[in-house]
């Protein structure tokens, strides 16, 4: 049975292989046409090259140059010491913590939404998430200042009730505070990313597994979790990158008092440069690119793993 099918298939593909490339005289014409085909995309690629690739490369190249233009590693040496090292550590800690919290809460929220049969709840949450995920930036910082800042509405309420959170080690203008604030755009992002894979869990799989004798726990252990783990991991990486690159919220909230990589880099760009640090910013920038690239490769790897069993 199987072998006959295979024979058929290979015979077909062989036949296809013979007929499709066509006569040889077409070849030169083809390659010329391929060249023509590319032309329409040139303006787009040039634009991208000019305003994205060149700036990015110039950052990386300059990172290896001294003020006089000679090759040097001193910028990187500087970037991994003192306050700059601290900023990398802070940034990574912040992004990691914020992404972990948002992943957990976001997954719980997406499960809750997907488990709900109420259409209104579902529509509300999915469009609400789309909007809130875009609510990062400066306005976000100010609405949290108004809420739990030094003089925020909730801070006041709590102080009146005899519990001033600022007397108990809480501060909005800290890494911990930022972790909370970032949830405001990270959780909706997580929900948006996770709803499709959760919805893709099919009822037939549950039915099949229970007719085969499996308990619900066994279904989740062998089917549900293996299917959801890659998208969750991939989403976590997206969240991490998003938090890592975020500048506006942190800057508006802390006015640069917390040492994060984007903030340090911003300060260097705005001209707070000490002598001998000419190209230090470029080294920080190159460092950021490197971290985001690593995240990107991890993401691609996870996606490829997952696509082993998905279309």
């Amino acid at each position: 049975m199987a072998s006959s099918t295979n024979v058929e298939e290979s015979a077909q593909s062989r036949a296809g292989g013979v007929s499709s490339p066509g006569p040889t005289e077409l070849r030169p014409k083809r390659s010329r046409r391929r060249w023509h085909n590319g032309i329409g995309t040139v303006p787009f690629l040039v634009y991208l090259g000019l305003f994205l690739v060149i700036p990015a490369i110039s950052v990386v190249v300059t990172a290896f140059q001294s003020g006089a233009g000679h090759f040097t590693l001193s910028n990187f040496n500087e970037a991994v010491h003192g306050v700059y090292l601290k900023s990398f550590i802070n940034s990574i800690q912040l992004s990691f913590a914020a992404a972990i919290v948002a992943t957990v809460l976001g997954v719980l929220a997406s499960l809750a939404v997907c488990a709900s049969s109420n259409r209104i709840v579902r529509a509300l949450v999915s469009s609400g998430s789309a909007v809130f995920a875009n609510t990062g930036g400066v306005p976000l910082a100010f609405s949290f200042i108004a809420t739990v800042g030094n003089f925020g509405v909730i801070t006041k309420l709590l102080t009146d009730a005899g519990f001033n959170p600022y007397d108990h080690g809480f501060s909005l203008y800290s890494v911990f505070g930022l972790t909370i604030v970032y949830q405001y755009f990270l959780i909706p992002l997580m929900v948006l990313i996770m709803i499709p894979p959760i919805e893709a869990l099919r009822k037939e799989w549950v039915d099949a597994s229970s007719s085969l004798g499996a308990t619900r726990a066994q279904f989740w252990r062998w089917v549900g979790i293996p299917l959801l783990a890659p998208p969750i991991l991939a989403a976590f990486i997206v969240l991490f990158t998003d938090a890592f690159a975020a500048y506006a919220t942190a800057e508006a909230l802390t006015s640069g008092t917390i040492s994060l990589v984007p903030i340090q880099l911003g300060a260097l760009i705005s001209g707070n440069v000490l002598a001998g640090q000419t190209n230090l910013g470029d080294a920080l920038g190159a460092g950021m690119i490197a971290i985001v690239l690593v995240a990107g490769f991890l993401y691609a790897y996870v996606q490829r793993k997952a696509s082993k069993w998905l279309r």
Binding site: G40, N134, V138, P139, F142, A248, M288
Partner: protein, 294 residues
């Protein structure tokens, strides 16, 4: 034992996932309620804060003062101008490129889709630094004016604008339309005007709105290149008058929410019947979220 199966069929018309998950009502509403509260409180608190006068009185002075600040209007106007410029540039770049790719080199669709996501890989702070280092020597008309912002915003908004337009083109079977148009004797300009643009209207609108909303909210590049756009003005106000800044944030939020709500709702309706498009919109939005707006 029977309880295990009890919920399966009870609500026969539930969507698939509801049957798969079977989470208790308490869990569902508990989680959604708590998350909901977290999202609503800052908005309510902002509203309350912005109307707070001395000695707990209620006042709208934060708003009236804002509206009478010339800078409020000038920065808003600047941001809108930059936004419009960005939208025009984006469309000029996207329409020919995407249409070309779909007609002539469909094999490269996915490649260009990935290329359009490149700006997500490079944080906007780094892009800004790169712009400064590499374009130092450009004439003042570009580097010294907000033109450079529009030029860069085209790039930074590309992940959303490209996706949206690309999926709109994907949805209409461009090649068949063009073949049909040509067989009926339409030239390229007629084809574009009578066939392509009307069919791609919503995709163009979506791409334009996303790019525009991005421009209204972008802070990093503008502030680091020392242009006082609307969000930069917002931060400046924040350093002086907290209640005005909070009031302004509410206003700014409306500016970005309204256009987004428009596309989410209109796409939602248009795609009610077409799963493929919904998926691509979901993708678009998902990409959207990963921006540097934050």
């Amino acid at each position: 034992m029977v309880a295990v199966t009890t919920n399966v069929g009870r609500n026969g018309k539930e969507p698939g996932a509801a049957n798969v998950l079977k989470l208790g009502r308490a869990f569902r509403y508990g989680v959604l309620g708590l998350v909901g509260i977290f999202f609503i409180i800052p908005i309510l608190a902002s509203a309350r804060f912005s109307f707070l006068g001395n000695n707990n009185t209620i006042t709208i002075s934060a708003y009236t003062e804002l509206f009478s600040t010339p800078q409020f209007w000038s920065t808003l106007f600047l941001s809108v101008k930059i936004g419009l410029g960005t939208v025009l540039l984006t469309l000029a770049l996207l329409i020919p490129t995407v249409v070309w790719i779909h007609l002539r080199v469909p094999k490269l669709k996915r490649v260009f889709e990935s290329i359009s996501l490149l700006p997500l890989v490079i944080p906007s702070v780094v892009v800004t630094l790169g712009v400064i280092t590499s374009f130092k020597s450009l004439p003042n008309i570009i580097m010294g004016t907000p033109v450079i912002l529009a030029l860069e915003y085209v790039i930074l908004a590309l992940p959303y604008s490209y996706r949206t337009f690309d999926s709109a083109v994907q949805a209409i079977d461009l090649k068949t339309l063009v073949d049909a148009g040509q067989s009926l004797g339409a030239g390229w300009s007629k084809l574009l005007r009578l066939v392509l643009l009307p069919n791609l209207r919503s995709g163009l609108l979506g791409a334009a709105i996303l790019a525009f909303a991005f421009c209204l909210g972008e802070f990093a590049v503008a502030s680091l290149l020392s242009f006082t756009t609307f969000p930069v003005f917002l931060v400046q106000v924040g350093q002086v008058a907290a209640s005005q800044a909070v009031a302004l944030s509410l206003i700014a939020r409306l500016f970005t929410w309204m256009p987004l709500a428009v596309i989410i709702i209109s796409f939602g309706q248009r795609n009610a019947s077409s799963k493929k498009k919904t998926v691509s919109l979901a993708k678009t939005i998902e990409q959207e979220e990963t921006t540097g707006i934050a």
